[in-house]
């Protein structure tokens, strides 16, 4: 239970284990959601079972006792479910979800080396136990043979766990050792549950000297034999200095899959059996573990010895705690000071996975491509070696091929980082489920386009904003069932979460069919809170977008779900930091649509290269609305030197880049240059006056701040084909910059415009912090 320290030789494997756990949990969550929605197959149940089983197996390899203990119980419940002994019903699914929570928390604790409270997850265990108890017999029904068949007996073993085993101390002195008799009758299904008696027998052998008797009476004829069933049962006589708990531990994993009796014999019994039994097998001498002992040779002495302790059994069993309360296991670390282990919810803060899983296909393609590159390169080298005789034609072809391969290579390398958004989307059903329950709303979540791929970094950053927006829709957007009925809608609200590729970006939409944004309320609140000035005139769309302003909350009461109105502001900031945009569109009484537009990757950007004076700049394509060459009549000069252009009835501010950047020789008259209309974060357009468009190109983003510092109006840098550095313009930054002549700009252009500017500046100013 130690944290994975630097000296831990298994640290590397643990990392792998936790990565796997994360994947398994994600799968499991998805399957659980399917289970809940009722759209599941038997395979779904199997998949959940496998996930838990894999986690258990890994956990036991690293001795995460709590995790093992819990996953074991959980697995058992799932097994019942899988075998059809339990029906999938809401209560059970609830339990499974709770179990899932505990499981992921326990994994989180194990990963961080945190100490778990002894009682943690007890409620989930109790629930699981209740279901198992309700089913009765807990899987015992299938095998009625064997002598020691009682649930109590099973429970005794379940209750045990100990960390004090030292298997190295196998050398046992007969004098001070205790004598245990263990009757072990596996159920038929043991092998199918991935348990292997041989391993158990070996472990027993490690505890001390054993004598083993095998009972093969259950073995059917060859025709009737099910190769996957377990037919043998064993009786072990064990002389060991170890405690009873250690023996229990050996059987820890199989207790639900077998009938097991462990009794302590006193020394007199011991003497008898040792001397008499002809089928005594010294474990050190015989690795057959009694498999090959002639059953008929079992002596009367041994048999009678089995009979004797049987009467002691109930007492031994009763002494142990019943199955219903799994022990606060010995191996569990001491209870931490209150509050150090946050029960529930802490799984969310899981460490970000530093590795990615890539399709072998993609890697193969890469390898292929590198091969092609090498071939082309050697072809070119050969050709160039010819010197004067080289054929310009062939070199040209070679270069073409080379550039094609490199382009493909780039695309493929990028695609390695691409992951389906499923990993984020799959968390949402859970949130919808929990939150809607809490709010007493009926909600159906529809997800579309989960396989849309986007860069890994984007995905990681997407989870938080998306969660928040979903919560927001649940809390503020959707009405309660009563309200919905009154409004003539179906009681069950719908939230549609969709992802799709659109023009080199990913568009994620969250659409609810709720009440929409209450514009009057938003407006009055915004005025009240000073987000906008009292006499502001805003369009509907502008009002809707006010919910992204900082310090804004329209909920009648502040709930713990949607936070305190800082949420949407943070969402917008998060999205913007990813180079994306978020907008909202509301249809009163019908619903609200949030739309996120994100770049597919953060490393490469599609840019329009523009020329200004003797410089070139890159304008991100995704923020360009259009490029116009405004006729003179549409250009209006403002008092003070600024200018606006009129486009489709709207006035748009024009920023001459050459003036803003203090370049000489650039065009300053909008009617003579080109105006690139670009969208700012507030959805407002700004016109960038440039001299020329120099073409469209994918550019690799390089930070300017690594070696220098941020420069106003410049987002980052890139390197053009000729090796020169070129700057990528920061549209939002630019829109806030002043040109010297503009200092006295007349603010009374158009009243509405002025207000918009102010609002956006306020919002933008905070976002920039």
């Amino acid at each position: 239970m130690l944290p994975a320290g630097h000296d831990d030789p298994f640290a590397q494997f643990k990392v792998t284990f936790f990565e796997e756990c994360a994947e398994l949990l994600a799968d499991m969550e998805q399957h659980l959601a399917d289970l809940e929605s009722g759209s599941y197959e038997t395979e779904t149940l199997h998949a959940i079972f496998r996930a838990v089983h894999s986690i258990k197996a890994g956990a036991s390899a690293f001795s995460f006792a709590r995790l093992v203990e819990f996953s074991h119980k959980f697995e058992f419940l799932l097994d019942e479910l899988r075998d059809g002994k339990l029906a999938v019903e809401p209560d059970l699914v609830e339990t499974l979800f709770r179990g899932f929570d505990v499981l992921s928390d326990l994994i989180g604790f194990s990963q961080n080396g945190e100490i778990v409270e002894g009682s943690y997850g007890q409620d989930a265990l109790d629930q699981i136990e209740r279901f198992l108890a309700g089913n009765g017999g807990a899987g015992n029904g299938s095998s009625k043979n064997g002598s020691a068949e009682d649930d109590q007996g099973l429970a005794t073993v379940a209750a045990a766990a100990s960390a004090s085993v030292d298997a190295g101390e196998a050398a046992v002195e007969k004098d001070n050792s205790k004598h245990f008799r263990i009757e072990f009758t596996p159920h038929e299904a043991m092998y199918r549950h991935a348990n292997e008696p041989l391993l158990i027998i070996r472990e027993l052998k490690d505890l001390g000297r054993t004598e083993t008797t095998i009972d093969i009476s259950r073995l059917p004829s060859l025709q009737a034999l099910e190769p996957e069933d377990a037919y043998f049962s064993w009786v072990f006589d064990l002389w060991t200095t170890h405690e009873r708990e250690d023996i229990d531990e050996v059987f820890e994993f199989v207790i639900d899959d077998c009938d097991l009796t462990i009794v302590t014999l006193d020394s007199t019994d011991e003497v008898v059996s040792v001397d008499v039994s002809p089928c005594r097998v010294d474990a050190d001498e015989d690795d057959g573990f009694g498999f090959f002992v002639d059953v008929s040779a079992v002596s009367a002495g041994t048999v009678s010895a089995i009979e004797v302790p049987k009467e002691e059994k109930p007492a031994a069993a009763a002494a142990e705690s019943p199955a219903a309360s799994p022990s606060p296991a010995v191996s569990v670390p001491a209870a931490p000071p209150a509050g150090s282990a946050q029960a529930g919810g802490s799984a969310a803060s899981a460490v970000k996975a530093a590795s990615i899983r890539v399709d072998v296909d993609r890697v193969d393609r890469l390898v292929n491509m590198v091969g092609e590159l090498v071939i082309t390169q050697s072809m070119l080298a050969q050709e160039i070696e010819l010197g004067a005789q080289m054929s310009a034609d062939r070199v040209g072809t070679g270069m073409d091929e080379l550039s094609m391969h490199i382009r493909e290579l780039q695309e493929n390398v990028m695609s390695i980082r691409m992951q389906p958004v499923k990993s984020v989307f799959s968390r949402m059903p859970r949130i919808v489920r929990d939150v809607s329950k809490k709010l007493g709303k009926k909600v159906r979540l529809v997800t579309v386009g989960e396989d849309t791929e986007v860069d890994k970094t984007v995905i990681e950053e997407l989870a938080d904003p998306l969660t928040h927006m979903i919560r927001n829709s649940l809390d503020h957007g959707l009405e309660t069932p009563d309200e919905r009925r009154e409004a003539g809608k179906a009681e069950e609200g719908t939230i549609r979460l969709s992802a799709e590729h659109r023009g080199g970006r990913i568009v994620i939409e969250i659409i609810d069919d709720g009440r929409g944004i209450n514009r009057e309320k938003v407006l009055s609140l915004a005025k009240e809170k000073g987000v906008i000035s009292a006499d502001a005139q805003l369009s509907d769309n502008e009002i809707d977008n006010l919910i992204f302003a900082p310090g804004f909350s329209t909920a009648e009461e502040v709930t713990d779900l949607s936070g305190r109105g800082v949420g949407m502001d943070v969402v917008r900031r998060n999205i913007q930091s990813l180079g994306g945009r978020v907008s909202v569109q509301s249809f009163p009484g019908k619903g609200t649509r949030f739309r996120l537009m994100l770049p597919l990757t953060l490393a490469v950007l599609d840019g329009m290269i523009v020329g200004v004076a003797d410089q070139k700049y890159v304008v991100p394509i995704n923020s360009i609305i259009e490029t116009v060459r405004p006729p003179k009549k549409d250009v209006e000069m403002l008092v003070g030197g600024g200018s606006v252009i009129r486009i489709r009835g709207d006035y748009i501010r024009v920023l001459p880049i050459s003036q803003v950047f203090g370049l000489e020789g650039g065009e300053c008259d909008p009617s003579k240059g080109l105006v690139v209309l670009a969208e700012t974060e507030g959805g407002r357009a700004v016109g960038l006056l440039v001299d020329a468009l120099a073409g469209q190109q994918q550019v690799v983003i390089k930070s300017l701040e690594t070696n220098f510092k941020a420069v106003e109006g410049i987002a980052s840098a890139t390197i053009l084909g000729d090796g020169s550095v070129c700057f990528i313009l920061d549209i939002d930054g630019l829109s806030k910059m002043k040109i010297p002549e503009e200092k006295l700009e007349n603010r009374r252009v158009v009243a509405g415009k002025k207000q918009t500017n102010q609002n956006d500046n306020i919002a933008a100013g905070v976002a920039a912090e």
Binding site: G662, S703, N707, K709, I714, I719, V725, F727
Partner: protein, 186 residues
Amino acid sequence: MAEDKATDQDVPQGFDPSLIGLEQTGTDDKDAASGKMVQFVSFKVDDSEYGVDIMAVREIQGWVKVTTLPNTPEHVRGVLNLRGIIVPIFDLRCRFGNGLTEATELHVMIIIAVGDRIMGLLVDAVSDILTVNTDEILPVPQIDSGGDQRFLAGLITVQERMVALLEIEKLFSIDDLVAQVTSAAE
């Protein structure tokens, strides 16, 4: 590189302001007597000669056209693509208040590492590599007017010529300061 870094940090300590105090205590100081040898790359700006710690120098490159940065102080000549890294280039002559360098192919950029950052200094020419004992580094006399002495860590005499050792860390931080002032003035 790791070893370089270690030395990097050692050397400035050898001739930092503390050196002034060290010099005043006289030569009987044990450390001073056994001062270690340090190396500097010396270069010319106008008629003056300057030196920077050799361990900070990453490479030396002839002048190529750089991309100018808008709205930055004049001495920020722009940025250079150094094998995929964006490196800002500072005009030392301009930094010292003697006007812009009319850069030609014969001018030289000394690429140096300051902390985690890489930057380039535009100078007229690189002249030599100097190996001196830290004892030979003399303090910069206090002069009231002008602040450029703050960039200097010490002075050494090489063949009757004075070489001023640059304190690149300071040069950089003051750059920052100036930039802030400039932008604030706007």
